[in-house]
Structures are given as structure tokens and as C-alpha cells.
Symmetry: C2
Subunit: 244 residues, 2 copies
Amino acid sequence: MAGQKVQRQTGVALWRQIADRIRASINQGDFDEAGMVPPETALALQFGVNRHTVRSALAALGQEGIVRAVQGRGTLIERKERLNFPISKRTRFSQGIGDQAREARSVLVATSREIASAEVARWLKLAPGAAVIRLETIGRADHRPVSRGTSWFPADRFADIAEIYGATGSITKAFHELGVADYVRVVTEITATHAEEGDLTDLELSPGAIVMTTRALNADLDGVPVQYSISRFAADRVRFTIEN
Amino acid sequence: MAGQKVQRQTGVALWRQIADRIRASINQGDFDEAGMVPPETALALQFGVNRHTVRSALAALGQEGIVRAVQGRGTLIERKERLNFPISKRTRFSQGIGDQAREARSVLVATSREIASAEVARWLKLAPGAAVIRLETIGRADHRPVSRGTSWFPADRFADIAEIYGATGSITKAFHELGVADYVRVVTEITATHAEEGDLTDLELSPGAIVMTTRALNADLDGVPVQYSISRFAADRVRFTIEN
DNA sequence: GAAAATTTGTCCGTATGTATT
DNA sequence: AAATACATACGGACAAATTTT
């Protein structure tokens, strides 16, 4: 297969196109048998570029901690995983991650009480001008950030949710303490865009990287909205599954 | 807001980073009131680059048919929509698109009978070496391609599905004729990656563009797998919603 | 153990693309 | 429109480390 062309003069450097392709191949498990990437000369032939260009691509992947080059041996694959996020009626953010990553947690980075925007009010079915509690979190697994999210809660029912969540680290427990015995995922919306400035720093991404954005609504068992969240995931670190 | 910095020396040209941001803003509806993009000088100030660089970005978007610059007036937004694809137990590919786009159809571009790969056999729960029917389709809406998909069906049950689908244009009808009264979506997997060579041509994308890939399994009412599909969607034209 | 082949690391120079002034 | 500076990409040659013969 000597014909996986890359395109020139498109505003995306060849080495970056190649880095993205190799990263995708690694994630797809194409090199699992060998445990390493093909030799630089083979990749150069495959993509139709000079070996130096392939080296630039591999250097970028090395910077991300995905591969490690060893002189004389080859370029070894260091890390190759994609966290799976199941989405269902019973979706809980932290649940289901623990068995995939050794170290997984979500940290609260900011919180405030504010007036709901038109979008937030619409999703939470609140009157215009109603107050909401906003929580900003960053989710990490195995020492890498995987998501940054913002959640809004109706302030009248959940005034103290920030404190309880900060103490327990669990939305489910916080809801429980505030009288919500159980809650369900009503709807989840998924889109994908290029990373923005905040993503680059919070998720440790490079420009051109992809973020998958979810907009999710949770409601109590009476169908009353209790939480609206917008989360941004580093696309090359996650996968969503919807099981019916 | 004079500080949406773009990053230099990252392998992605500034004009392409800016083009991607403006495209995302348009899709998000940021400029809906005016119906046009801010003036070049304002964008240059906002992104911290020279006006020439912004012009390169807008020229690229013009090439895609998203904006149109008019001397003396500004840069008008030509096209701005995102098709919604609902995912549920009753997910039907074509259903739900008709009310969003005037012209929507899926065309069969290739078909073959082949031996199932390890991946396909695993999903369809077939014995190794079993035969499958493969269908390749391209989905279009309003004269734009939005998806390219490959579906596999067990050959023993659905030997003639290609012919029937080609005649009726409906998988549901083809299933019905072949004795499958009803079927349900068992699981859907969603990931996002950069566009590959085939995506660029089939979906009319430019390098660096994003594709969302779904892997979906349909089964009959007895739980027997009947269809496994991998579909690739142009990310800036679609949105997925999961309703529980 | 020695030699050969393989693979990554480094240096040179040149041409073209990108971005600013 | 033109001049300048830097990033990107290519081509070749050789060194250094490792594996294979």
C-alpha cells in the first residue's frame, strides 16, 4: 500500500496530517502486533513524502507521549487507549470509567451563582431571569485531561450543590443529599469541532485537534430538569457508545 | 473580545485555524443577527493577526461556499445548517432527515459479496469465514454529501438485499421483503477523527476537516444481528442526539 | 564474537510556503 | 506590491544504536 496521499498547500502542514493519520492508526490498533510504528523510510514511502517529514510527525507524537523512538530499534508505541463513555438513561459521569483507567477523577475548578442565559433557561425549563448554580469541572484519567465541562442547576432547589459536590466529589451523592433520590438522562446531543483556545490549555491539545461536545439534560423521576451540562472531550482519547 | 489567540508554528497555518474558527462560529449561530461575518479588520484584531491572514481564511470559506464577500458591504453568510440525526432503539437512517432538508437521499455506490473480516464477523456474531453482503452508500441532503457508509449483512439470510435496496432505496423495505418484519438498534459507537483521503473526495471536505464515525449494530426482534454499519459523517454538517 | 543489515539521529544545503511590515 | 523573516519540505550523506546473519 504505497499510496496514502497527503495533500499539499492546504494550510495544514504535511507532518501534521501524517501525525494525525498515524495517531488514528495507533488508536485503531493497526500496529498492535508489532507494538511499534513502521520504520520511517516505510512511512515516507507510504505517504509519498521525505523521511524528514515523517520524522517531524513522529516527533510531534513523541511530544504527546504516544510514541518513543529508540535508535536502532524503531519507534515504540507508548500509549494506546480510548476511554469509553457509555450513554444511556442511567448515564453517570464517573461510572464506567474506573475500570478503564487506573487514576480517574473529576476536579471542580470553578463555581458561581448567576442568572440563567436564554439557552440554559430553555433546557432547564426555567423562567427568564431565574438563578442557576454553575459548576466547571475538568475530568482526568491516567494523568491526562479528557474533558472539561460546565453544568447548570436550578438555584432554588440546589443552592448548596457546589459545596456538597466539592466535599463528596459526586453529583449523584450531592443530588441525594438535596432530596433527589434518582435522576435520568433525558437527552444527549453530540457534535464535533476543532479545539478552541480554552481546550488547548485545559485539555493539553494542539491546534487542529478535535473536541467532541456533548449537551446533556438530566431530570428527576418526575421529569423535572435538574442539570444541564455542556462537556468538551478530547476526541482522540474517548469514544461514546449508545446502548439501547 | 480582543484576545482569541491563534497559535503559531504548530503545523496548522494561521489562516486555516481562523477559517475553522469562523466556520464553527457560523454553525453555532454567532452571526445570525447580522447575517454576515464581522469586518476583516475586526477579525484581524480579534485573532491578533494581519488582515491579509484573515482574507486568506475568508477566501478558503468562500471556496467552500460558506461565505461570499461583497465589495463595500461585507462578507455574507451563504450557508449555515446542521442536520440532526436522532439515535434511538428505533433509529432509521433516512427517517427524521426529510423534515430538515428539502432534498435528502442515500445512493448506493457499490456492493459486493465477500468473506467477513474478523471485525465484521465479531459484530454480526458470525463464524469465521462466513459470507456477507457489503453495501456502500453516500448520503446527501440539499445537494451536499453528509455521510458515507458501509453496511454488512449475513449473506445466508440477505443474499439479495443489494438488489432490493437498489430498487426500493430503503433498508427497512428490503428487510421486510426478506422476512425481517422489524429490527432495532442494539448499539451505536461514536468517535471523531480527522478526514482521510476518501472522505475528502466523497464528502467534499478539505484536509484537517473532521469526520464523526459511527459503528452501529441492528438486530431483529429475536436479538439476532442483521446489519453492521460503519458510517462517516462530515462533522460540521451534522449533530447526533440520543433521546432516552 | 564479528560482520552485515536495519533503523534512528544529525548535519548540510536548497526551494517553496506563510506571515508580517 | 515588494521586501523580509521564518516555517515547511526535500534531497543527500553519514554517524550511532540495535538487531540479524
